[in-house]
């Protein structure tokens, strides 16, 4: 059972589009019911296209160029900010690793011996200074670690 149409249909349609008909193709199109039906539909659709062409008011190419350049800039920015985000993450990991290493080293010190050589008020100030430094480091890390990526 024939259910895929005529094999010459695309050549008939191409001839209709380009206007380059050969005599055998023209004879075939007149005799073949599939090609006749295709030609009728093609002519109806081409009338639609002609009507649509009158409705069409394409925007000025200048605006298309401007829009594409803006999109290109946004794309570049997105790529750069992705790189910056990766660097920020690496920096945060490095900061945490250094902090951990320093704390471990500080704990290993003979703290009591060091503290005993200092007068009472000096060791108190040193502890307050260390606590303040840790608080500042944490305050700085907090926004870096919790900054949400831009859409």
């Amino acid at each position: 059972m024939k259910n895929t149409g005529c094999e010459h249909e695309q050549f008939v349609l191409r001839a209709l589009h380009t206007g380059q008909w050969t005599q055998p193709l023209r004879r075939h199109a007149a005799q073949c019911p599939d090609c006749t039906q295709a030609l009728q539909l093609a002519e109806a659709l081409r009338r639609q296209a002609h009507h649509a062409d009158r409705l069409c008011t394409p925007p000025d190419p200048y605006w298309i160029l401007q829009r594409s350049r803006r999109q290109a800039r946004q794309l570049t920015l997105r790529r750069v900010s992705r790189l910056l985000a990766a660097m920020r993450t690496l920096a945060a990991v490095y900061a945490v690793a250094v902090a951990a290493w320093l704390l471990r080293g500080y704990a290993a010190l003979q703290f009591r011996e060091v503290a005993s050589t200092l007068p009472g008020t000096s060791s108190g100030y040193a502890l307050i200074g260390a606590a303040l430094a840790a608080a500042c480091a944490l305050a700085g890390l907090w926004p870096i670690l919790h900054q949400s990526p831009r859409p």
Binding site: E9, R14, D34, A38, A44, R46, Q48, C56, S68
Partner: protein, 177 residues
């Protein structure tokens, strides 16, 4: 006649900054924007959606040009981008939105044309696209396969079915008094 391989080459991001690149772009735009708009309008049924998709098609084309293409391949590439945008749009919204009838203008008094228009509304978006590419743009089956991403062998069958369906919808309308 245009130098075949140079059209898209001129349109690479750096080249469009030059006056010659812009002129090339304008020529290509003038030659292809109306057929593209007609295709998008036929597929979506809405002029303003066709406007948006036309702009988006060109922007995508300018962002990712392929320098080795000749004029016919460039045209085919533009239709492919437009078809992909149509698919993205139909995936992200409900298909019913695409099925709304187009607005009628004072000039649309030709009964046959309106019959065809309403018949096309009853076809699936893919069928409308195939019929337009084959019957209006005169593309070969291989070109349609490249534009739609479908297999070249299945185009003939799909086109045949779409044509049969369109003819069946149109036949009773035309026989009415």
């Amino acid at each position: 006649m245009e130098d075949a391989p140079t059209i898209a080459a001129w349109l690479t991001p750096g080249r469009t900054q030059t006056a010659a690149g812009e002129e090339r772009f304008r020529q290509l735009y003038q030659a292809t924007s109306r057929p593209l708009w007609g295709y998008l309008h036929h597929a979506t049924g809405r002029p303003h959606v066709a406007d948006d998709l036309l702009q988006e098609t060109w922007c995508k084309f300018l962002l990712h040009p392929i320098p080795q293409m000749d004029e016919a391949q460039t045209r085919s590439y533009l239709f492919r981008i437009a078809t992909n945008l149509l698919h993205n749009r139909s995936r992200s919204r409900d298909d019913a939105a695409l099925e709304e009838p187009t607005e009628c203008t004072a000039e649309s008094d030709e009964a046959t044309r309106l019959d065809v228009q309403s018949a096309m509304r009853q076809l699936k978006p893919r069928e409308r696209q195939l019929l337009w590419l084959a019957y209006v743009e005169g593309m070969s089956h291989a070109e349609i396969a490249a534009v739609t991403g479908l297999g070249a062998m299945s185009i003939r069958i799909l086109l045949y079915r779409a044509r049969q369906k369109a003819s069946q919808i149109l036949r009773p309308q035309r026989t009415e008094p």
